[in-house]
């Protein structure tokens, strides 16, 4: 275990940024999101939840897949270069790190998505334990410990110090690179902080949320429930929940006309949108109830059925905070809980 004074963190950022890109929570235009570090960046480690999850560091909101050039009626295809430079994501919370583990199951399963895999290969995740979990948090429901995140390096903020613990080869390599900035630290301080965090988490309003009845078996038992019809009505189909979600990975592939061809790019999409499944010959989900049901059935039933029980929700609570109709996965889980 190592530590560095929080006052010295700018030196640490600068050192990392000398050799690689550094993404971390930056306050800009009144809100905090992960962004590329620059000297004048207003780094914000106090805000617990960034508005968007940091998934876009690995799975950008929009990215070019290839360019297609047309000349004299002939087409040529040039794949986009894959990420080939190391980078660091600093300050990811336990829920968002698990969000990446969920995306891994999608994009790193065969056939591997090479764009995502290249970023995962080159990215080092420095996780930050949650000092003060908030009322909309419910990560522990999914077995996540906000006091001890996964990651290549795990850090804890204690008083005026950042405690630093490397966990993987990538984490050790980064630590070696920064070694002169650290001093040795005592594990017991961090253990006390972990205990304190876990005590807060136990008292959160959603701490006792039960996932009973969800998981693989729900794929058969909950699809036809009348509860969906009662629940979905406030849904505006705005897609905000899918865009702030750390695990939503549905995407669209579209063309950008370059004049002499196209750039074919993919961008985040949302299963909440009415044209998501629209084909020339029709649409298999014509009502918002069906689309609403699909999102939650996918996260709480289909995904675990296909991934050894792992849920595609990490309890970050962003949908709880951001839905304009106060509709969210907690409401869904609770509604089915009452039924049982």
């Amino acid at each position: 275990m190592l530590k560095i004074k929080t006052a010295d963190l700018p030196a640490l950022y600068e050192r990392i940024a000398q050799s690689q890109d550094l993404f971390l929570p930056v306050r800009s235009a009144g809100q905090t999101d992960f962004a590329l570090w620059q000297k004048d960046a207003q780094v914000d480690l106090d805000t617990l939840k960034t508005v968007k999850s940091p998934k876009d560091v690995f799975f950008p909101q929009s990215e070019t897949l290839y360019s297609c050039h047309r000349e004299d009626g002939k087409l040529s295809v040039t794949p986009e270069e894959l990420c080939d430079k190391p980078f660091v994501v600093f300050g990811m919370k336990a829920c968002d790190v698990q969000g990446i583990a969920v995306l891994d199951k999608v994009f790193l399963s065969e056939p591997v998505d090479s764009y995502y895999a290249a970023r995962r290969t080159h990215g080092t995740i420095v996780a930050l334990a949650c000092g003060r979990p908030e009322t909309s948090c419910f990560c522990t429901v999914f077995g996540i410990d906000p006091a001890a995140p996964e990651g290549d390096v795990v850090t804890w903020m204690v008083d005026q110090w950042l405690y630093w613990d490397a966990k993987t080869d990538k984490g050790f390599a980064l630590t070696d690179f920064l070694h002169d900035l650290f001093e040795p630290a005592d594990e017991s301080t961090v253990e006390q902080v972990k205990t304190a965090i876990r005590a807060i988490v136990k008292k959160l309003p959603y701490a006792d949320l039960s996932l009973e009845g969800w998981g693989a078996q729900a794929a058969d038992t909950r699809f036809d429930s009348p509860i969906w019809e009662q629940l979905y009505k406030p849904c505006l189909a705005c897609g905000t929940c899918t865009f702030v979600c750390p695990t939503c990975q549905c995407y669209d592939i579209k063309d950008y006309d370059t004049g002499s061809g196209v750039q074919r790019y993919r961008c985040w999409d949302s299963c909440m949108y009415s044209d998501f499944t629209m084909m020339a010959h029709g649409n298999n989900r014509t009502s918002q109830m069906q689309r609403f049901r699909q999102r939650f059935m996918h996260k709480l039933a289909y995904f675990p059925a296909n991934n050894d029980g792992v849920f595609s929700c990490v309890g970050c609570g962003r949908c709880v905070d951001k839905c304009p109709s106060h509709l969210n996965i907690v409401k869904v889980i609770k509604a089915f809980g009452k039924e049982d």
Partner: protein
């Protein structure tokens, strides 16, 4: 459940993503019906773009217009080229219909599973039932089976469409398929038409009239309403759902089970399908 963070051991030597298409040249276009054309596609240097199995699909893209999944209608036993029979029914297909031989498109694939021609279907008597453009996916299987005739039993092909002008691959049906020993062809059209002396009536009714014995495996593709009544008719004849195969069709973007569009229940139609047996279809939530 949370689990330990694995380091990504992805091989940086991996070069070409499955989302990247190849350029294909249209080398022939046959007008099958007023709204269906069959496009023959070759690699720019000649030959096929890739190998596939019967029932598999490919993404066909016209840059700037769109990209969609189409079943590959040619059989893998054809070593020269691949073919797609495409009905004009939307933006992309409208554009494809305007193309000429020599024009280039982009193709990626093959995607999805295939009809089990080398396993479950081998040695079986086969009953093909198709309506309209849905002959396209079955043609791949039929030609595969005919080119490996000794591996299969009797072959019955029941095919219907709105009118005689809407029968796809009519030339091949009459000049090739109907001349193969042990192959019975049953054609029907929905309504009487001058110059047509064959059967008139909907496919499900004709199916009941013929009344096949259950010592067969059926492969059924067509519009949803036709599928529904044909499946009922087959069950009345004593066929079990395990004896009947079909293909599902949903909106697709990636083709590899990641973009989320064709997800129903625990399946992704692009990856786990498009070929399903009806007992497998029954296990899916009813939203296909």
């Amino acid at each position: 459940m949370s689990e330990p963070m694995h380091e990504c051991k992805y091989n940086p030597g991996f070069m070409r993503d499955t989302l990247i298409p190849q350029v294909g040249i249209i080398t022939d276009i046959r007008t099958e019906t007023p709204d269906v054309k069959t496009f023959r596609v070759n690699a720019p240097g000649g030959g096929k773009l890739f190998e596939h199995m019967p029932g598999q699909c490919a993404m066909v893209c016209a840059p700037g217009v769109g990209e969609a999944m189409f079943s590959i209608t040619s059989s893998p036993t054809n070593k020269e080229y691949q073919e797609f029979s495409i009905k004009r029914c939307g933006q992309l297909t409208e554009h494809l219909h305007s193309l000429q031989p020599g024009d280039e498109i982009m193709v990626r694939g093959p995607y999805g599973n295939n009809f089990p021609v080398e396993t479950e279907l081998k040695g079986q008597n086969l009953l093909f039932i198709a309506g309209g453009i849905a002959l396209a996916p079955l043609r791949s299987v039929i030609n595969y089976v005919l080119d490996n005739r000794d591996n299969y039993g009797s072959i019955d092909i029941l095919y219907g469409s709105r009118s005689a002008d809407d029968l796809v691959q009519r030339k091949e049906i009459e000049e090739v398929w109907s001349k193969v020993p042990g192959v019975n062809i049953y054609l029907t059209i929905d309504r009487e038409q001058a110059g047509w002396d064959g059967h008139v009536g909907f496919v499900p009714n004709y199916l009941k009239e013929i009344g096949f014995t259950t010592d067969k495996t059926a492969i059924l593709c067509g519009p949803p309403i036709m599928i529904k009544f044909c499946l009922q008719a087959l069950q009345e004849m004593g066929f079990s759902k395990e004896q009947v195969y079909t293909t599902l069709e949903l909106r697709m973007k990636c083709g590899v089970g990641k973009c989320g569009r064709c997800n129903i229940g625990t399946k992704y139609v692009c990856k786990d399908g498009p070929v399903f047996r009806f007992d497998q279809v029954d296990e899916l939530p009813n939203e296909y």
